[in-house]
């Protein structure tokens, strides 16, 4: 009876290694089947860009090897089996530590961006994808992990604030406009960061209306994805008169948004604020543009400062979050211990009752002269004696299970009486 987690994450492996381990959803059942073949009662595979982890119920000794071999193959490529080992990048946790690990993951405590909420959806997706192979223990474990994640987010401020540059961009724009629903955004350039920030703005209800780029084709490709209109850079300057948010992320080696280009358009805004988010390095926007009335200009450093502040605030919430995690680990372990107590007690009773039956039978063979009523009395006496002997340990074990300490006593019981080993009397 045990739970284990084996895997790699952003702390133990660099991106180029982690991306080799990442499993697409359709690969999960096959990978799990291979690991379960090595001997485990259930498994869940959690695979994101930051981690690939196998959660296993009652794994046998051959299971870790199966996991590292499977991951090693992905590291080396299918053609050269075993050439590179995955184990140096990995870690393994068992029992309470494995449960704690999953709870910390679900709460965002183990994430690259502390407290990020995306992981909760990924844990849910992993559980749902692996459900046919998970088994009852992991089913319960993953359900509780999602509840722990929700509890941490509700009862602490671990998930508040903006801990990444794109979300900081949204936070800054929100401090100017309040609700972003219905606000128009202009994207300048085709950088990944701008696309990411644009998707964050769209998620808040903003509309990307224009995409401008040095090459019109690239602008059109992004504009089609976002339902916007494509422009060349030279066509974009006049639109600074009517857009609310400008996201700049060109690959230009110098500032392209200059005072001369946009000041005339901005002068015609009638006092409406304009938020310019310059996500390019080197910067796209001349600092002088930020001096214009009602223009709020922020570059990557500014947004990183916002994100950094939120991260510092989140770090202060770690003790409270860890406290919740520990509390829930004990709660799960109490359930898990109780789950195992019932069949173990049943087996223990059956084992001792078999011994009793053999010994009573042996005694009765020697006392053939006894009348049937006395023979019956002797049998009843042996049963009553056994029940008396078993009463205290049964109550103590159940009570220990209720307190979450059943697992240790159970292990002792198994060891002392040779349960689950078939060591008969």
């Amino acid at each position: 009876m045990s739970i284990a987690v084996l895997g790699v994450n952003h702390r133990t492996a660099p991106l180029e290694v982690r991306e080799r381990f990442a499993h697409a959803l359709h690969e999960v059942p096959g990978a799990l089947a291979r690991v379960l073949e090595a001997g485990a009662a259930g498994g869940v595979l959690l695979s994101t860009c930051n981690r690939t982890e196998f959660y296993l119920a009652e794994p046998q000794e051959a299971v870790p090897e199966a996991v590292w071999t499977l991951l090693g193959e992905r590291l080396s490529g299918r053609g050269d089996r075993g050439e590179r080992s995955a184990q140096p990048y990995g870690y393994a946790e068992r029992d309470r530590d494995a449960v704690r690990h999953l709870y910390r993951v679900s709460a965002g405590l183990d994430s690259m961006v502390l407290g990020e909420s995306q992981i909760q959806g990924q844990v849910r997706e992993a559980w749902e994808t692996s459900r046919p192979q998970a088994g009852p223990v992991l089913h319960r474990l993953f359900q509780s992990a999602l509840l722990v994640g929700a509890r941490v987010r509700t009862e602490t401020k671990l998930g508040t604030g903006t801990a990444s540059v794109p979300s900081a961009a949204v936070a800054v724009a929100s401090k100017i406009f309040g609700e972003l629903a219905g606000r128009s955004a202009l994207i300048l350039g085709a950088g990944d960061m701008a696309e990411l920030a644009a998707s964050c703005l769209v998620a808040e209800g903003a509309r990307v209306t224009l995409v401008a780029n040095r090459t019109y084709e690239r602008a059109r490709a992004i504009a089609e994805q976002l339902g916007a209109r494509a422009l060349t850079l030279d066509e974009a300057w006049s639109h600074f008169a009517d857009t609310d948010i400008a996201l700049c992320s060109t690959a230009a080696p110098h500032a392209v948004v200059t005072w001369e280009r946009v000041a005339p358009a901005i002068a015609g805004r009638g006092g409406r604020p304009l938020c310019i988010l310059d996500l390019a390095v080197p910067r796209d926007v001349e600092p002088a543009v930020g001096q214009l009335e009602n223009v709020f200009l922020y570059d990557v450093d500014d947004l990183q400062a916002v994100a950094g502040q939120a991260a510092a605030q989140r770090r202060g919430e770690i003790p409270a979050a860890e406290h919740i995690v520990n509390e829930e680990v004990e709660r799960f372990w109490a359930w898990y211990g109780g789950l195992a107590v019932v069949p173990a007690l049943k087996e223990f009773r059956e084992r001792l009752d078999a011994v009793r039956a053999v010994e009573v039978d042996r005694a009765l063979r020697r006392f053939k002269h006894l009348p049937p009523e006395d023979r019956e009395q002797l049998d009843q006496f042996s049963k009553a004696l056994l029940n008396k002997f078993l009463h205290e340990p049964t109550v103590a074990l159940k009570a220990a299970a209720d307190r979450g300490r059943g697992y240790a006593l159970l292990e002792a019981l198994k060891e002392l009486f040779g349960l689950e080993r078939g060591d008969g009397p």
Partner: protein, 264 residues
């Protein structure tokens, strides 16, 4: 009883002010439920006190003004999540209640006027108009502070705790647009009261001057916002200048004619 009710309200407004100011002193931000609860209980107790007041004299008028300010603070928080308004309204309301207690809550000149419905409505609506002008000033001040922080790229407590610029601008607009009709009806009721009960109450020229001036200032700020479409920083400056002028004229008139029997 009246004094005890005001003292209880004063304590709760003080606590409300402390909760609003706490994050700026390094303490954690109080939960929204707590801040609303403290201000709400204070306003509830104060309502019982205000209901027992005879609205004649400086003390009662200040008490009603403080009561209106706290109700507007609660309304701003509930409708626009503008908790930062309490930074100004809570200490201001506490100060006004304290001052009212010092000046005395008993009616001054012509206590019979305090039982006249025209007069009660005149005082209530005029004070509400004035409180809304004060709210416009507060939202304008918060706007300018947040504007400065955003322009300067400072992401400290003001950035974190103050509402977005757009919301503060809307609060300023709503306060002015709601304040003008309230004050207008208040002034008209005063005129009607003077006509209907001619000789019943002495109307001082100072009251006429300040009432007309306040109405004119509020009218001007509404006009520039609604007709001239001023918004943002320009509208904020207009609100601040207007409110400052109203307060300065009141202080000047009061210094010229001291006494607590009348509001003016």
């Amino acid at each position: 009883m009246l004094v005890y009710l005001h003292l209880a309200a004063l304590g709760l407004y003080g606590l409300s002010a402390a909760l609003a100011l706490a994050p700026f002193a390094g303490f954690p931000v109080a939960s929204r439920r707590w801040t609303l609860w403290v201000a709400g209980v204070g306003a509830g107790i104060h309502t019982v006190g205000v209901a027992q007041l005879s609205l004649v004299g400086t003390g009662p008028a200040l008490s009603v003004l403080a009561w209106c300010l706290v109700l507007l603070q609660i309304g701003s928080e509930l409708l626009l999540r503008a908790a930062a308004v309490a930074l100004f309204t809570a200490p201001l309301a506490g100060g006004l209640v304290g001052l009212a207690l010092l000046l005395g809550l008993a009616p001054g000149a012509q206590p019979s006027a305090g039982r006249n419905m025209w007069f009660i409505l005149h005082v209530t609506l005029s004070v509400l108009g004035l409180a809304l002008l004060a709210l416009a000033f507060i939202s304008a001040a918060l706007y300018l502070l947040q504007f400065r922080e955003l322009k300067a790229k400072r992401f400290g407590q003001v950035f974190q705790l103050f509402p977005p610029l757009e919301r503060l601008d809307r609060l300023n607009h709503v306060a002015l647009v709601a304040g003008f009709p309230a004050l207008t009806v208040g002034v008209l009721l005063a005129v009607g009261y003077a006509v209907r009960y001619a000789g019943g109450m002495h109307v001082d020229p100072a009251q006429l001057v300040w009432g007309s001036f306040t109405w004119g200032v509020l009218g001007w700020t509404v006009w520039v916002r609604v007709a001239r479409h001023w918004a943002g920083r320009r509208a904020a400056f207009a609100s601040i200048v207007g409110f400052a002028a109203v307060v300065l004229v009141y202080v000047a008139l009061k210094l010229a004619q001291p006494g607590t029997e009348r509001f003016l």
